[in-house]
């Protein structure tokens, strides 16, 4: 089987400071890491490869520094890395990202059987790139998949949708986006990591290599514009209960008993 896994480098911390002038995240302050859902998708591909055999191409788009997650992917078990990097591609929205990835996959692995993406990224949360990429390549896709099984050219998938556990089937080639539910990424050994830096197959491609239309990449080709980005204003209302301990406890349950019960999942009505 030929697998392609799309991975993205995201800032390693969840709460980055904002630049109040521009309203953007101060990404320079953060170290990059492989997006968690992408890492789970990669783990899923590696586990499938371990049982079925095959070849995994990990592909990422980003600044030159994003190359590090390709080395990491190779240390985990991918066979080859592809970095799509070009200043002209910077600032693209999900539409041009899907288009760029589609062009790259058509070039480096046109005979793929399965493409795996993370279901969303921790830095933008759109969840659009995977499904759009399937449209670009004209293959079927299923999003938010938890578990995969391959039988011949059929992929059986399990996913949770609106509290129902769905089992779906899809003919290959196809694309899935994976959640972080089932495939816990393995720890890489330091020796494999060292090897992945000393001798890894990494292909670096720019817009010209991919034959991309300059009108369809980067900010220029993007169909969407970000109007404004701001931190949500969390409203916290602090309530201070005063008095003797017995009184405070009684007051606490009288006022918030239902919420406490909900949080701990117990019915507190019979507590008297």
């Amino acid at each position: 089987m030929k697998f392609v896994v799309c991975i993205k480098q995201v800032p390693a911390v969840s709460e980055l400071p904002w630049d109040p002038q521009t309203g953007t995240l101060m990404r320079d302050l953060a170290e990059g890491m492989m997006n968690p859902a992408c890492k789970h998708a990669l783990e899923a591909a590696i586990q499938l490869k371990e049982t079925l055999g095959g070849h995994i191409t990990a592909i990422t788009m980003g600044p030159p520094a994003a190359e590090e997650i390709l080395h990491e992917a190779i240390a985990m078990g991918a066979d080859k890395g592809v970095l799509l990097t070009d200043l002209r591609m910077a600032g693209g929205d999900t539409l041009v990202t899907s288009h760029t990835l589609g062009m790259a996959i058509a070039k480096v692995c046109p005979d793929f059987d399965l493409i795996l993406c993370g279901c969303h990224t921790s830095d933008s949360e759109t969840a659009q790139v995977g499904p759009q990429l399937a449209v670009e390549l004209d293959v079927p896709s299923v999003a938010y998949v938890e578990h995969l099984k391959v039988l011949g050219t059929t992929l059986t998938m399990r996913r949770l949708a609106d509290n129902f556990l769905e089992t779906l089937e899809m003919d290959l080639p196809g694309l899935v986006t994976m959640t972080t539910k089932h495939y816990q990424p393995r720890y890489v050994s330091l020796g494999d990591l060292n090897d992945a830096f000393l001798a890894a197959e990494i292909l670096i491609l720019n817009a010209d290599d991919l034959g991309l239309d300059p009108e369809r990449i980067g900010i220029k080709g993007s169909a969407t514009r970000i109007q404004n980005v701001y931190a949500p204003q969390a409203q916290k209302e602090n309530v201070v209960l005063k008095g003797a301990v017995k009184h405070i406890v009684e007051e606490l349950f009288a006022r918030f008993g239902d919420r406490i019960a909900g949080a701990i999942g117990k019915d507190l009505d019979g507590r008297q």
């Binding site: 890491m33 080395h71 720890y187 050994s189 330091l190 990591l193 060292n194």
Partner: protein, 393 residues
């Protein structure tokens, strides 16, 4: 790489390479997830966490610089320092176990062992199946290795080893420690030799675990050797080469302890920065006061400075040039910084810093011994001063 592989013209490159960044990130993630949640408890309970060691084995933590043919990760020395730094940032006692195992328990066999010794012991050590240790210290011999009383006497094709080693790091868990013993008291320069002694040897026994101030999760203990019959093929190098082995081994060991001290300092610094932002006094975060800012600035500067000294020693080692003085400088400066930074961290945390509830109290206790073992700060100064004074002016 720092200082040697100049990719950008003739300037020194202080920027960590991609590999070193990823190794740091990988070890940090492992340490924070697998060791972080128990670091406080294993210190309090003085418990060695075998369950974590189990997870560390397949990740090559026990064969960091061992060539692949013997089952190791074959890392460069800066990567080695980063691994120890990151483990120690979360739990110095585990960092200690790993660095002592790699740098003084395993490295001498790799460097000085015969092919047969390497094939027999290195794969077992590199996989973490057995843990290593190096035993020099005795009741009457510390900085002065010449005072060692443990002795080995030839008997046929065996050596009979007798003596007591104390303060053995990894003492209660090691499987094949290296024992420094006197073999010819008359020849002062070639008095001692080093033997690989397997714990299954009759007469080998482990003493009580020491009740120490810090590094409490590491089972530091005494080792007793009573008429231990050690096969002559377990002698490392030649008879009388003990001191030579010790001196070369300690240069490498010092890199490890410097990295450990640096990791402790880093942890204390990060805790202090966090606390300075959270802790409110006089209705403002204490980090807004210049007196706290000054402490943080000093801590940050000192940590960065000693880190560069450490990585320089590592780069020299990898370049194959003499690094003895550089390793001593790194060890002296990193351990001094660790003691100072952790002390300031306690100060910044005030009363809470003195409480076992907060990690800085553990960092403070753990830091002190980095000024003592693997050569005290006084011994490091001796090494450095000797180099300074013998340098042609």
């Amino acid at each position: 790489m720092y200082g040697f592989e100049h990719e950008r013209g003739d300037s020194l490159d202080f920027y960590p390479c991609m590999k070193h960044k990823v190794i740091r990130k990988t070890v940090r993630e492992f340490a924070e997830i697998e060791i972080g949640p128990i670091a406080h408890d294993i210190d309090q309970e003085a418990r060695f966490p075998w369950e974590v060691i189990e997870k560390m084995r397949p990740m090559h933590f026990f064969g960091l610089q061992v060539p692949k043919e013997y089952g190791g990760a074959d890392l460069d020395s800066i990567s080695y320092a980063i691994v120890i730094e990151e483990l120690s940032r979360v739990c110095a006692a585990i960092g200690l176990c790993v660095t002592v195992h790699n740098s003084v328990g395993l490295y001498p066999i790799l460097k000085f062992g015969t092919e047969e010794q390497k094939r027999r012991f290195v794969p077992l050590l590199a996989s973490g199946e057995i843990i290593g240790a190096f035993c020099i210290t005795e009741a009457n011999a510390g900085s002065d290795a010449g005072g060692v009383e443990t002795h080995a006497v030839k008997d046929g094709n065996h050596y009979i080893v007798n003596g007591t080693k104390i303060f053995v790091t990894n003492g209660a868990i090691c499987g094949a420690p290296l024992i420094f013993a006197v073999t010819n008291a008359k020849n002062s320069k070639k008095a001692a030799s080093v033997f690989i002694v397997e714990k299954t040897t009759p007469g080998y026994s482990v003493g009580e675990i020491e009740d120490l101030c810090g590094m409490r999760a590491n089972p530091v203990s005494s080792l007793f050797l009573e008429d231990c019959r050690v096969p002559e093929e377990n002698l490392l190098m030649n008879l009388g080469d003990g001191l030579k082995i010790v001196l070369i081994t300690l240069d490498t060991g010092r890199i490890g302890i410097a990295a450990q001290a640096l990791g402790i300092a880093q942890a204390a610094f990060e805790a202090s920065v966090r606390y300075s932002k959270e802790r409110q006094q006089f209705r403002q975060p204490i980090g807004s006061f210049q007196t706290i800012q000054n402490m943080l600035a000093d801590m940050a500067t000192e940590i960065d400075a000693v880190r560069l000294l450490l990585y320089r020693a590592c780069a020299y080692k990898d370049a194959g040039v003499t690094f003895s003085t550089e390793a001593a400088m790194a060890k002296l400066s990193c351990s001094t910084a660790a003691s100072r930074v952790t002390s300031q961290a306690v100060q910044i945390h005030g009363g809470y810093g003195y409480s076992k509830e907060y990690d800085v109290e553990r960092y403070f206790r753990d830091a002190k011994v980095t000024e003592i073992y693997e050569g005290t700060s006084e011994v490091q100064r001796m090494v450095i001063a000797r180099a300074v004074l013998t340098k042609p002016s």
